[in-house]
Symmetry: C2
Subunit: 515 residues, 2 copies
């Protein structure tokens, strides 16, 4: 029993366990080895003064770990930064914990050093102060650790008297007794995480320009905002798939390298394919339709889409991730519009209910209003939109397509009138849609096609497709399309095909820009 007590109070090794004789021996051996390799202090900015080191009673409580080569499978809990709470402080009053994170900032002040330990979008204040367990040399070592280095610290979680406003963990701080550098960052950061995280609204402070941001994408990924954006993106895809899977959809994957430039050949990338050439698919639409003609009934696919559009706008990207849906319907394409409308509502609700932390985090840097939507989704018809726009000064013909400014204005007008940031615009003019779009049965002007909008940005385009091969050929001819080039597509419908409709959500983030 006395032994056990002694162990609890005795020195703890870097593996977090009390140092038994055997372990001590092992540790000493390791320490000697480390000293031999001169890895101990130098790499992290120590002065390499061997005399000082010899006198250092805390020399086994800090240093630079050898490069992790999976030397040993240590069984030690690392408490995540986000779990450092008041509750934990109370629970682990007499017990030290280990925690891994990045050294976000540090400030040395006489015999102590304050630093902030960060993990993803959580951070906590830590202090290492000269005392019974911590030597002067150790404080000096910690003060010299480069920002963004990954460190393991051991210490007590302590309640603070005054909330720490600058940290996510406001109620506690770490009183640190061991510090080990797991992976050191180079001394000079090309750009500071704090600068990358600065709110758009703080006009007086220097902003990081987009080029610098992208040139240092690794650092930019570490901001709370980027962490939240990636989680949200993953969440959108998950909600998309889960909603459709629950409705009996099957996920498919469609070819990206294709043998013929299907949609007329404009805006298509050419690939050298051994001795010949091939093309990059501009959309999975034809394959989705083949899946429908092949009786899969309801399909979706998430994947890369390529467009050779040499324009520098946020709507013209050479590569983006498309979320595509296609569905056989019974009698009317509105059955499909209902499914897609519900899909969006489900995504909006899922984000609102499960990703509020992420949304709040992004809002701190990029302010925006809460997203409004109706349930069921608002469906307008094209003539209503034209009327609304004309009443607000836009001059356009019945069968003209919407310009980008008109779309933006329409978004604002619909928001004013219906209090929704999302709506579906049905019955586009036939003239502005692709050849495979089903014409409206009651009017030669319009078609069974739709776009969907979020805040005045088109985010989905879709339609009932023509499933009759003869009529499809006829419409292709009207559009001046060479039937030979789309023969395989047209032939897909020769052996019976259910009426169907679908659409594609373009997550038009530019992949190149993300990395």
């Amino acid at each position: 029993m006395a032994d056990a007590n002694a162990e609890n109070e005795g020195p703890l090794g870097p593996d977090g366990k009390p140092i038994s004789k055997k372990a001590l021996k092992k540790q000493q051996k390791q320490a000697e080895k480390a000293a031999k390799k001169e890895q101990h202090k130098q790499a992290a900015g120590g002065d390499g003064n061997e005399d000082t080191e010899k006198e250092d009673f805390a020399k086994d409580s800090y240093g630079k770990c050898p490069m992790n080569q999976s030397q040993e499978r240590v069984e030690r809990d690392l408490v995540p930064v986000q779990s450092l709470t008041l509750e934990l402080a109370e629970k682990k009053k007499d017990e030290k914990i280990w925690c891994r994170g990045r050294l976000h900032t540090s400030r040395s002040k006489g015999k102590q050093c304050f630093f902030v330990l960060r993990h993803q979008h959580f951070n906590v204040q830590a202090i290492v102060a000269v005392g019974e367990r911590v030597s002067k040399q150790m404080v000096k070592f910690v003060a010299a650790i480069t920002k963004e280095s990954i460190i393991d610290v051991e210490g007590y979680v302590r309640k603070v008297d005054q909330k720490i406003e600058s940290c996510s963990q406001q109620d506690v701080e770490l009183h640190v007794e061991q510090v080990w550098v797991v992976s050191a960052a180079e001394p000079r950061l090309p750009v500071q995480i704090d600068d990358l995280s600065r709110p758009e609204s703080e006009d007086d402070l220097a902003k990081v320009n987009p080029d610098t941001r992208l040139d240092n994408r690794i650092l930019d990924l570490r901001t709370a905002t980027s962490q939240a954006v990636f989680r949200l993106q993953g969440g959108v895809c998950r909600l998309f798939r889960d909603t459709l899977t629950a409705k009996g959809f099957t996920e498919i994957h469609t070819p990206k390298i294709i043998s013929a430039a299907s949609e007329g050949g404009a805006n298509v990338f050419t690939v050298s394919y051994f001795k010949g050439s091939a093309y990059l698919a501009q959309s999975p639409q034809l394959y989705k339709q083949m899946a429908i003609a092949g009786d899969l009934d309801k399909v979706f696919t998430v994947g890369a889409v390529f467009r050779a559009e040499d324009s520098n706008t946020h709507r013209h990207l050479t590569e983006f991730v498309g979320l595509d849906v296609e569905m056989a319907f019974k009698y009317h394409y509105h059955e499909v519009m209902d499914v897609i409308g519900d899909l969006f509502v489900n995504i909006f609700k899922g984000l609102r209910d499960n990703f509020q932390t992420e949304i709040d985090t992004i809002n701190k840097q990029y302010k925006s209003e809460p997203f409004k939507f109706l349930e069921p989704s608002l469906r307008l018809e094209y003539p209503e939109a034209v009327k609304l726009l004309r009443a607000n000064g836009v001059e356009m013909g019945d069968e003209d397509d919407l310009t980008t400014p008109a779309e933006k204005l329409l978004g604002r007008l619909v928001k004013q009138k219906y209090d929704t940031d999302f709506f579906m615009l049905d019955k586009y003019p036939l003239a502005v849609r692709p050849f495979y779009t089903m014409p409206d049965p009651n009017s030669t002007k319009y078609s069974n096609s739709y776009d969907m909008f979020m805040r005045g940005e088109e985010i989905l385009s879709g339609a009932q497709r023509i499933h009759d091969p003869d009529f499809l050929s006829e419409r292709a001819k009207v559009h001046g399309i060479d039937l030979e080039k789309i023969r395989a597509y047209i032939d897909s419908f020769r052996y019976g095909c259910p009426p169907h409709a679908g659409g594609g959500i373009g997550k038009r983030w530019k992949q190149d820009l993300l990395w």
Copy 2:
């Protein structure tokens, strides 16, 4: 009340509702219109004999629907073929139901016509026989409907005395009183669904060769086997993502068009990119690692992967769907191997528990044994595998890679010894792995890398990656790689990076072949 009764017993329109006076009027008008357009009988093989038609008392009970342009949103239940069961037959004893499917086969026999109605991998026998509601002309019409046409039928679900062995719905048949062609197939099918569905084992019967199969992929997709394969593929991706999401992984999407051929430039496709060129990414690995250096900690991605390998084997595909994982670990890469091993177990169990119908369906055409696996997964080390192979006649050095025949043999030997179709092979020789693989800390021969196998086929390759930029440069130099070309990659690790490992599952189905 009398009226209501009359309605229940009165004639039903093609919309499934009893025909009220108003509706009747409407229907008559529609019928006249249809007659005017001569759409009624001719298109589906009717003889166009107007005299016969005029005498036909059932003329409003069958015909060819006009092309669906979403003319009307009909509120009618279509009972799926798979729901046509004994229970339904009892429940709907006095009530007709509507059902949509493909006319799979038909056989005319005097005053009646038997046909099989198919939807996906379900089918049911149907009969239309001359009687009070069905005319001679109607039976003739049904007998002439081309195979694979999509039809709507109305009729009674009736119990059969003897099980219908050739159908999935063995206990019931449909007694049909209305038949409408929704989408007609061309009269001559280039290949029969039954031929495409024939079990591999029936050696005496003609097989469809792969070229014919692929040239008629739309029809091939309609076989029960293809329907099941696509559902299984979707299931694998879902189980992959759900398992990892539950463990806190974030889904990412990585660029496919990249500016530099990263992995040495071999086997890479070149894309014409406006005035310059770009390349197609051979793997998402570098981006996954950037995500780790960017603090996302645990990521996965499902997407297209491109390899310019001009070989005609089932392991060399120019395009496939990769399921990739990357994860920061605390102390040892076996933490990651454990996660991947569990991932596979979860996928195997999920398929076994939720997709047994699909597995059984595929087994009917392509016979295979139930898949065996251990929990937790078996982990062998490379030297053990070499020993096992040598004991069975394979000559190889300690640091030689496994040949494809050796892998297959190893699969069989492991199955014999451990009774598992899945295992993980750890500690590959350093010499046969990419430059970024972490060497074993205890031996210069081996590395912290692994492959995973199913039935002697490598299905995942992975490793602990080098997260130290200086050591990474050193290893790249040893491999003769131009550091300039991988500078961005190496620089990713300059600002601290946690130790990490991962792997990629190559779902090496050839997309081109799928469509």
